[in-house]
Symmetry: C2
């Protein structure tokens, strides 16, 4: 299935702790045929740019706008696949960079691909590893066809570029693969942003030429910071390559929220309307509502599970700390009316106790609730776009969603009822 | 429902971080009537002392021999109540000492009792806190009616004795409460063991006189180390008090296995045959089989969940480290033929990866498997006692159950098939 090839002139081994000069995996020639993924734009909101769509993959149909729970290391943190199914997750994201380092692609290929490895039969989107190479890896050197860097785990020399990123994603067998891009810091100087855009375009072309797994879709990525010209240049050039979808990259990289929204606003007009748009790594519940209004169809974010592990829960009225003393005697669910497993069966008082004594069930329950909250938010968003009431929903949601302190001050239970 | 009383001459507050001299909870007078718990001895093995029984509690019937998963802090570690039900747990154990310190009995009483607090509707056995007072607490002074000590969490001065232990268990609303005993170290000098036995008998009498929750059973505890005279003396005296069941205490306190077995052998003949016998804090799978053969009906142990968090899994051929390199490419379940959630859906290779990258799902899956293994072992034990084949099962199980190293050396999958 795979051909092995010696790594020509590259010094770093191909994304696995092999000695320098070791043989690396490269995929077999294409089997022919375009991927089967197709996007149907079902409806556009009359008052905003919000869109209702349907994304067909070989492992199922995804209704958009969609939120993708993040399973960085082949598991959504603290959650199992049955729970994902029960909460209505349609697709999960997993990270090429992390998986290639641990357990290594050979293991996942031997398992029969990522779906079988992690026991999730629904669609999977894999990122390209580009973002992690630029954020996590140590000592990197950008070359013409990729990046030399050292593993953030053990310092091993590795190389990742368009060819390798697609080969890895092909081996993972994800339903949607992402093009390998360069993601500079949000405060990079203009010259650096320009170079990143040019490389991202060139690498997008290289990715487009690589063979993929059967039925695997490929999304292009647009960079360009918050610069109008660069965003337009990158979006137009990447769109010309006729990807199955388009991601807005270079957001959620530490920039202030207005800059992030500006980057999306500057990109969206140049993306083909008949393809799904994905805002990478975003966002808070408010941001998801706002970005939906700006025409974004797909989201992923570690926020719901990450803050859960610190005991922070999302509700329609804002996030609050379940660990807070206010919850000590509150024998009510995290959010009244919520139908998640945690809210159906457990109280704030109990979950607070679990968090206080470091019991795993505590962060599991908050993780379950938070992911359910995000998925439920998307269900509501889709229903309101379908009903033509999204603009009203957006206004009401933003008015109701308050900062943490105010939720707690409002007295817990009744405030969240 | 409860009367409040100032703590007469005691210096420590009643098991809660109250200032010295604060008021403490004491239960209302008894409502009359013996608890409804009843034990039916259904069958005795012809070749060993193994017994098949049925223990009726107000929240359900428990088939014995039974293993009770340990939910020290009102949760079985990493596991939720739905999973406990799915794996066939009949009863769980929870710890009075830990719960009284965090979240505090007031919270659990306000929740409507421990069952409602933790979302587990099946039977619960609570220990008395005696063991923890002697193993965890700092700076303790033994008094006539209990023990003054300082909390292991924050050093707060606390007092626990027969009256308090039963009052707390009454507030928790457990289905089976345990008498407050003194549990000395296994290597305590004879004089100390003698004194502990006398206090344990006196405190058993005091516990027996306390009012309990409606339908709440009370088990007596036998101490006496591995000394024949002390075990007989304690067992006879405690049995005279007509408890609903009897626990063999002072085992699983660091003593060598032969000493533990000897303590059980020295106690069992003096326990009423028509009441359930419970070996506290035991044991390994081999020990459970051995103790069943010695006439023990009930077990609890942290082992299956504790070792799971280090990545050690139990199988019929012994325990092994799922983290071991040998599992890296093993795309087979932890144990072939096992029907637990982990074995039905995930491979060793995947679980090893999760453990290696510190994903919570890894230790969750091994915890699920190990508890299921223990419960399945008890199901087999009961079936063999019922069929009259327990002695043969015991011999075969002990012959097959090997130390960790041999399981791994035998090559994983095939060895465990």
């Amino acid at each position: 299935m795979f051909q092995l090839r010696a790594p020509a002139s590259r010094r770093g081994a191909f994304f696995s702790p092999l000695p320098l000069g070791a043989r690396i995996l490269l995929p077999a020639p294409p089997r022919g045929g375009r991927p089967a993924t197709m996007f149907d734009l079902l409806q556009t909101d009359p008052n905003t740019k919000a869109r209702l769509g349907r994304l067909s993959t070989r492992r199922g149909v995804i209704e958009t706008p969609v939120f993708m729970p993040v399973g960085t290391q082949a598991t959504v943190k603290a959650i199992d696949p049955r729970e994902l199914t029960e909460m209505g997750a349609q697709i999960v994201l997993s990270n090429t960079y992390h998986l290639a380092i641990r357990p290594g692609i050979e293991i996942i290929r031997a398992a029969g691909g990522l779906h079988r490895f992690m026991g999730w039969e629904g669609p999977i989107l894999t990122d390209s590893g580009g973002y992690q190479v630029f954020s996590l890896a140590k000592i990197r050197k950008i070359r013409a066809h990729g990046v030399e860097f050292r593993s953030h785990v053990d310092g091993a020399p590795l190389f990742l570029g368009p060819k390798e990123a697609i080969a890895i994603q092909r081996a993972l067998g994800s339903d949607i693969a992402m093009a390998f891009d360069e993601c500079p810091p949000h405060d990079a100087p203009l010259r650096e942003l320009e170079a990143a855009v040019e490389r991202t375009i060139r690498w997008a072309r290289e990715c487009r030429e690589q063979p993929r797994a059967e039925g695997q879709a490929l999304f292009g990525v647009v960079q360009g910071g918050a610069h109008a010209d660069l965003r337009e240049r990158c979006a137009r050039a990447v769109a010309e390559l006729a990807f199955d979808g388009y991601a807005i990259g270079g957001v959620s990289v530490g920039e202030p929220e207005p800059e992030m929204l500006r980057a999306v606003d500057l990109t969206e007009p140049f993306l083909p309307p008949d393809k799904p748009r994905y805002a990478m790594g975003l966002g808070t519940p408010r941001q998801i509502v706002e970005l939906t209004a700006r025409g974004v169809d797909m989201f992923d974010c570690v926020l719901p599970t990450r803050v859960a592990r610190n005991g922070t829960a999302f509700t329609r009225r804002g996030a609050f700390a379940v660990k807070a003393g206010a919850c000590k005697g509150q024998f009510i669910p995290i959010e009244e009316g919520c139908s998640c497993f945690a809210c159906r069966r457990f109280t704030r008082a109990y979950i607070r106790h679990l968090l206080n004594v470091n019991e795993i069930l505590g962060l599991r329950l908050v993780s379950l609730h938070n992911l359910h909250f995000y998925l439920e938010l998307m269900r509501e968003i889709r229903a309101h776009i379908a009903a033509g009431t999204f603009a009203q929903f957006r206004a009401e949601f933003l008015a109701r969603y308050r900062p943490t302190e105010r939720v707690l001050a409002a007295g817990g239970g009744s405030a969240l009822a």
